[in-house]
């Protein structure tokens, strides 16, 4: 429910959880934003047979974790650090996406304000 409650405040601008950003990424920023770079290489992901839904910006940590799992197969608790790194990265990623969501919401509100004023 956390998700639906979190996005509940954005219903008045017709914004839902899975919507994509519609504004120009540079709007309202003084500095230049760079697109995020994918650190894991495609062929590595393919050779490690990572399913497509996990090939995100944290996939390089995931690769590390997989390698660790492969090395210490029965004693998987030895990979706690790799797992933690991966989950941390996913967490940062999530926070970023939430920030984008909030930015989108505010931009839409601003647009409404401008249109309403005009």
């Amino acid at each position: 429910m956390g998700q639906s409650m979190g996005s509940f405040g954005a219903r008045n601008v017709d914004l839902y959880m899975n919507d994509n950003p519609t504004f120009d990424p540079q709007t309202g920023f003084s500095f230049e934003r760079k697109p995020r770079e994918m650190k894991a290489r495609e062929e590595d992901l393919i050779s490690a047979r990572i399913p497509p839904q996990f090939r995100d910006y944290c996939a390089h940590y995931l690769l590390d974790y997989q390698v660790c799992r492969y090395k210490n197969m029965p004693m998987l608790y030895k990979c706690a650090h790799e797992k933690h790194d991966y989950l941390n990265c996913e967490h940062q990623d999530y926070v970023l996406r939430m920030k984008e969501f909030e930015r989108e919401r505010r931009l839409r509100l601003r647009e409404q304000r401008i249109v309403g004023a005009a």
Partner: protein, 583 residues
């Protein structure tokens, strides 16, 4: 010689099989391997019926759990069923059950799935009616017929899959997702899985099936048979994700979870309480499955199998000790007499509730947090959390009834932990239900889930658990002057107590019409027209004919016969003459 009884041999074989499986599982999960073996039986009209075996980490792990639990249960039933005359039959039935379960687990082919599926239905029927009294016959028929609905759906799936030219559904999952036929197939698969896993319209059979012997309940009706439906849907999952019917399943399974949790609070039969808690957990698995997390459902399936089998085995010890009494109103204070069994019972109950670092905690907490992370409506969210609280609620009520109060049956009694065979097998499972959560958590999640929640939502599980435990304590507490809560809300209580009247609605209410129609058919068709037109009528007509014929035959007047032949010849001659004249 006593050592080499059928129980011991079966235990040994199954246990070794489970150890082999755990070895292969770690190898397969490490290398991310999938093996498919195929053997073509018959091929006709370019369709081939193949016996195929699919080995991947999922099937291997499930096989390992099934064989481990069944080996332990067989070991346990050596003592539980020790005075049984037909022990061999019992063990063979259980082994047949394990065999068909394994057949179901390893087959990626809908025909061989049917083989296992029907085997499960048949053997579970035989096991439910094992004590041959009226109650178990009724329960067995209810079980068999409810499962039969699912069998019919699987059969229809087979005929629909004929359109694809092969029954290896495994190969079509990725490519045929948007196909109309595949949509029909998946609806039927969902229906079949709902019957096997006792989801809401079909859930009345699971508490009824508790007429089976307790080891059977431990193996069949808690950990393996009922999870067959969940397992089937896990296999079909990639097909079902975006379907409308999967959303319906989410609602139904959520309601199942809720309904079973409430009914367990009103139930007094020890085994039925556990059965209803199984039903609640099945609803949990189904609903998380229908939200699109098959691996979470699988995880909960495995841990749940462990502690639920253990719970049933403890209940079996108690029932055994109390002279077949299952009603918890007769019990109380048994922790003073059988501390070891009560230890196991408490561990499994707490694992069920999700007390931290027991098996249930890992799966259940993960499931609930993933529920919180997803986009859901408030109703489903409520169902999840209320049901979690209810789990705590009935577990505490059970604990209070069994252990805390005074013994309630006789004034002279002598109860003790008599049997080390049972205790040994229970301790094996207790170790597993402590450890298996974290072990599985490490091993099967190659792609870990990230959870990021506000504090209160994160702690919501603990809130509802504490609330549930408190209510459970209050509910089983009874003073002299206490009002009877049951009587005050009699109608509502009966409604909740009888599983929302589901047995009446889905079975007793429904089958009346079929029976009535069947009787009409019998009267009018079988014993009426079809008798007249096929059986008796035909014989009557033929008899008349043969009497008529015998009149000619039995005159036995040779002269007339020969004369008639000559007459025939003369007749023909005459015509021939006419014919020849006309030439």
């Amino acid at each position: 010689m006593q050592k080499f009884s059928i129980c011991f041999i079966s235990f040994f074989v199954l246990f070794s099989f489970s150890m082999i499986n755990i070895f292969f599982f770690s190898y397969f999960v490490m290398n991310n391997l999938v093996y498919i073996l195929e053997w073509e039986l018959i091929s006709f009209s370019s369709m081939s019926i193949v016996m195929s075996i699919l080995l991947d980490w999922m099937s291997l792990l499930f096989m390992m759990f099934v064989s481990l639990i069944s080996s332990v249960v067989i070991f346990y039933s050596k003592s539980y069923m020790s005075s049984e005359l037909n022990l061999n039959r019992f063990i063979i039935l259980v082994l047949l059950f394990v065999f068909s379960m394994i057949l179901l687990i390893i087959s990626p082919n809908i025909i061989s799935i049917l083989l296992g599926w029907d085997g499960l239905g048949l053997v579970s029927y035989c096991l439910v009616i094992y004590y041959q009294n009226i109650k178990s016959y009724n329960a067995g028929m209810l079980t068999a017929l409810s499962n039969r609905v699912g069998d019919v759906f699987i059969l229809m799936v087979i005929s629909w899959m004929m359109n694809y030219g092969s029954w290896n559904y495994f190969f079509y999952l990725d490519f045929m997702v948007n196909d109309y036929m595949m949509m029909m197939i998946s609806v039927m698969i969902i229906m079949a899985a709902m019957t096997k896993s006792a989801q809401i319209p079909f859930s009345s059979w699971l508490p009824a099936a508790m007429a089976a012997p307790t080891p059977v309940s431990a193996l069949v009706h808690s950990s393996t048979l009922v999870t067959a439906g969940v397992y089937l849907l896990i296999r079909f999952n990639s097909l079902l994700i975006d379907m409308f019917f999967f959303k319906v399943l989410l609602l139904l399974s959520g309601l199942t979870m809720f309904m079973a949790g409430i009914s367990a609070n009103y139930e007094f039969d020890l085994k039925k309480i556990i059965a209803l808690s199984t039903l609640s957990q099945l609803g949990l698995m189904m609903s998380i499955l229908s939200m699109g997390f098959p691996d979470l459902a699988f995880f909960h399936l495995l841990t749940h199998a462990m502690f639920k089998a253990l719970l049933f085995m403890c209940a079996g010890v108690i029932i055994h000790m109390m002279n077949d009494i299952q009603d918890i109103r007769f019990m109380g204070g048994i922790s003073n007499f059988i501390p070891l069994t009560c230890l196991c019972l408490n561990v499994s109950n707490m694992a069920l509730c999700g007390i931290p670092f027991l098996a249930g905690f890992y799966s259940k907490d993960l499931i609930l947090e993933m529920v919180s992370m997803s986009n859901l409506n408030f109703f489903i969210f409520l169902l999840y959390y209320v049901s979690t609280g209810l789990t705590m609620f009935y577990s505490f009520r059970l604990t209070m009834y069994l252990m805390i109060n005074d013994f309630n049956l006789l004034s002279v009694y002598n109860l003790y932990d008599e049997d080390y065979v049972m205790l040994k097998s229970m301790f094996t499972l207790m170790m597993m239900s402590v450890l298996s959560g974290s072990m599985l958590m490490w091993s099967i999640f190659s792609y870990p889930y990230m959870i990021y929640l506000p504090l209160n939502i994160k702690l919501m599980v603990i809130y509802v658990s504490i609330l549930g435990a408190f209510l459970g304590y209050l509910m089983s507490n009874m003073n002299i002057y206490s009002m009877n809560k049951y009587l005050k809300s009699y109608n509502l209580s009966s409604f909740l107590c009888l599983m929302w009247f589901m047995p009446n609605l889905s079975t007793y209410g429904l089958n009346f019409y079929f029976l009535n129609y069947g009787q009409l058919m019998l009267k009018n068709i079988d014993m009426g027209w079809s008798e007249f037109y096929s059986g008796q009528g035909l014989v009557l007509i033929l008899k008349n004919y043969t009497v008529f014929y015998s009149f000619f035959q039995m005159n036995n007047n040779f002269k007339i016969y020969l004369f008639s032949f000559v007459l025939w010849v003369c007749f023909l001659m005459m015509f021939m003459m006419i014919y020849l004249n006309s030439l």
